[in-house]
Symmetry: C2
Subunit: 415 residues, 2 copies
């Protein structure tokens, strides 16, 4: 093993140039991007990333769903250490969400190769596709799900975009064969490290540039419907009503208050509501809403959902409302790997970069990748905690801190 040189040369003006150049492909709303998977902008962006991989001396290949891999062999062989993220965006999204993780992996590995030559273990840079589900709403994590073998045989034909085109047809339009999706599976990975913008205000609040992620939150979306009795808003006395809006108000208030009382990192959000018939002078017949409840600890996650269920059942029962609920998806909490956490933490300490450890409240490709290998993440401070908007921003000094921490960890794992 080589001596630990923890500060390979990271050129900040070159990083800025890469962010702007990748951000120019699918540029939208000033500082934003609009890059949907398999659209021309996405194809052009992957081509640029492939060129960069080639220039860095990596051998480049596209897998069956369009993920790009750039590989350098290790002198001692074995399973690969992988770093990367996704380049598809929200519509419109910003320049940093996903894209920064691909640029970071490229810059870090190129710096390591320049400083220390070939690694002991193979290293790969990975540019994933359709993390956001911004073109195919039900195909989020498409690229990482292909790698972990989590795409069903019939998924490609059934998944449609807003124009009714299937993801299978979209793949064919860019020269990919949907029948070969199973070939994208990998079982030879040793680690996946992902640098990502935080997307929240915790680092800003703490006055730090980077965080080492301890776990990725569990996320459950439940659709709840409260059915009451539709009636005339004037002619029905309060004491004879079964009003689902009144039941919703009590539930929403208590569900949200409960997360406040638990404190960080528990979060509970009600972002979507549908009311029928949704008329000013009619007591609604029913109110449906989506409950987004997250916690990064498995035990706390289970308790949270149990508490929610009991709370809602009691309120519905007491108010004479019929409650139905359907779990729309459930991604259990994903702890990051202790060895990778240690590598990232030691790297930050050795570099003298003050950091915090925190859970990720957003979902990430790493959550999927954890099914095939240990994972870890680095967060970079987001201005005003914003993301999924053209206004998302992370400063160059913060980005350099993040990439240096990542490079130091990759060095520890692969050299």
């Amino acid at each position: 093993m080589l001596p630990r040189l923890d500060a390979p040369d990271i050129n900040s003006s070159e990083i800025e140039h890469m962010i702007l150049r990748l951000g120019a492909i699918g540029a939208h709303s000033g500082t934003g991007v609009w890059r949907r998977v398999y659209d021309p902008e996405w194809v052009a962006a992957q081509r640029l990333v492939a060129d960069w991989m080639g220039e860095a001396g990596l051998s480049v290949r596209q897998d069956a769903v369009g993920n790009l891999w750039g590989r350098v062999e290790g002198t001692e062989g074995g399973k690969a250490i992988v770093s990367g993220s996704h380049i598809d965006s929200q519509c419109p999204g910003g320049r940093y969400d996903g894209a920064l993780g691909v640029i970071a992996a490229l810059v870090a590995i190129r710096a390591l190769l320049t400083a220390y030559g070939p690694p002991r273990r193979p290293i790969e840079v990975l540019s994933l596709c359709e993390e956001e589900g911004s073109r195919f709403p039900t195909a989020g994590f498409w690229g990482s799900r292909a790698i972990t073998g989590r795409i069903g045989e019939t998924d490609a034909k059934g998944v449609l975009d807003d124009k009714g085109e299937s993801i299978a047809a979209a793949m064919k339009s860019v020269g990919l064969d949907p029948d070969l999706i199973p070939n994208a599976r990998r079982s030879d990975l040793a680690a996946f490290l992902e640098l990502h913008i935080e997307q929240g205000p915790v680092l800003e609040d703490a006055g730090r540039s980077v965080a080492v992620v301890s776990a990725i939150t569990g996320i459950r979306h439940t659709k709840i419907t409260l059915a009451g009795e539709q009636n005339h808003a004037g002619a029905f006395p309060m004491d004879l009503r079964r009003d689902p809006m009144a039941g919703f108000a009590e539930m929403a208030g208590r569900l949200i208050d409960h997360a406040h009382r638990l404190g960080r990192p528990a979060v509970t959000t009600i972002g979507r509501i549908e009311v029928w018939p949704n008329a000013p002078a009619i007591i609604p017949r029913d109110v449906s809403f989506t409950l987004d409840a997250r916690h990064p600890s498995s035990a706390a996650y289970a308790t949270l959902h149990l508490t929610h269920s009991r709370m809602m059942a009691e309120i519905a029962e007491r108010r004479g409302l019929v409650l139905t609920s359907e779990v729309q998806f459930d991604l259990p909490p994903t702890p990051c790997d202790p060895t990778i956490i240690a590598a990232l933490t030691q790297s930050a300490q050795a570099l003298g970069i003050p950091h915090i450890e925190m859970a990720s409240g957003a979902g990430h490709d790493s959550q999927q990748m954890a099914a095939v290998c240990p994972v870890g993440m680095v967060f970079v401070r987001s201005k005003d905690g914003r993301s999924h908007t053209p206004e998302e921003f992370s400063s160059l000094p913060d980005i350099v801190d993040g990439i240096r921490v990542l490079a130091g960890a990759l060095y520890r794992l692969a050299y």
Copy 2:
């Protein structure tokens, strides 16, 4: 004045026949009707009512907006005693809402004329148009507003149906001249008595067939918007959020609870809500809702709105939300006339019909007519308190009770 003969012959099978015959015009969804103002079904229904008026010996005329008047002169002249309601319906509505009040007035006056001959004072039967606003949403109470001079000069051109046709064009299509709307105004009315289905469950709950209405509720619709800060549902800790859905939940809960604590006849309803962007994993940017708040007492009505404003301002302030509110309409409470209430009450007592006195929680043409003459109303029990649906139903014995009470009151006022 003639001796008080309080039970003129009211033929229940004839009433049933009239309900079914009028209900056959624009019949919809089995037991419902679909009769929008100035549509062929409405024209046919008014023609039938005109025929009935003629058969009863009334002199019939249509006014400038299409209201039908059937008049019998009084031996002593003076201002007219009027009874009636509307024959336009919700889409679809039931056979009773409105139509029953027209049939009741016809049956009562015909029975009075048969039993007692011509009255001292003129009596008129009135069949009003577009009470519901079911074709022209902003033209509710169109017929009664024409009679009271509450239609502005430019209203007829600006009021559009869902196909973009103006009410002026619709009037022309049935031979009415919108320029003559001011001619519909009446200043020679002594009283307006309206029989209507209750549309609520109060009579059913009390085990009574009819009610004498003490007042028609004040109704205010306020649109409230709560603006917070849109953010990622996972990455934003609870303690840093400004979540308008959380603010809405607290407000809706407290506004509705307040009406419960006040008890009958106060009612408060939140029937309509709009959330932006209304996505499961996004803390909303803003939540808008409509507050429908009603009370039949002027003092309580004013206090109610003041309490609501203070409650909402305090919650918005405490939660860092920007609150804007806009009163969309405000119909102040309309007390019924004490002399008409007395005539109806004495009529019910003399006939031995047990009844209650109650406020109307729904709006009615009587509310408008109160601008030009004293008004009073009789309510007939609604099955399950339902209305604005093909399933609305009032039983024939209840209807006969209501018409007898109405006839007795008309006798007291006009003979």
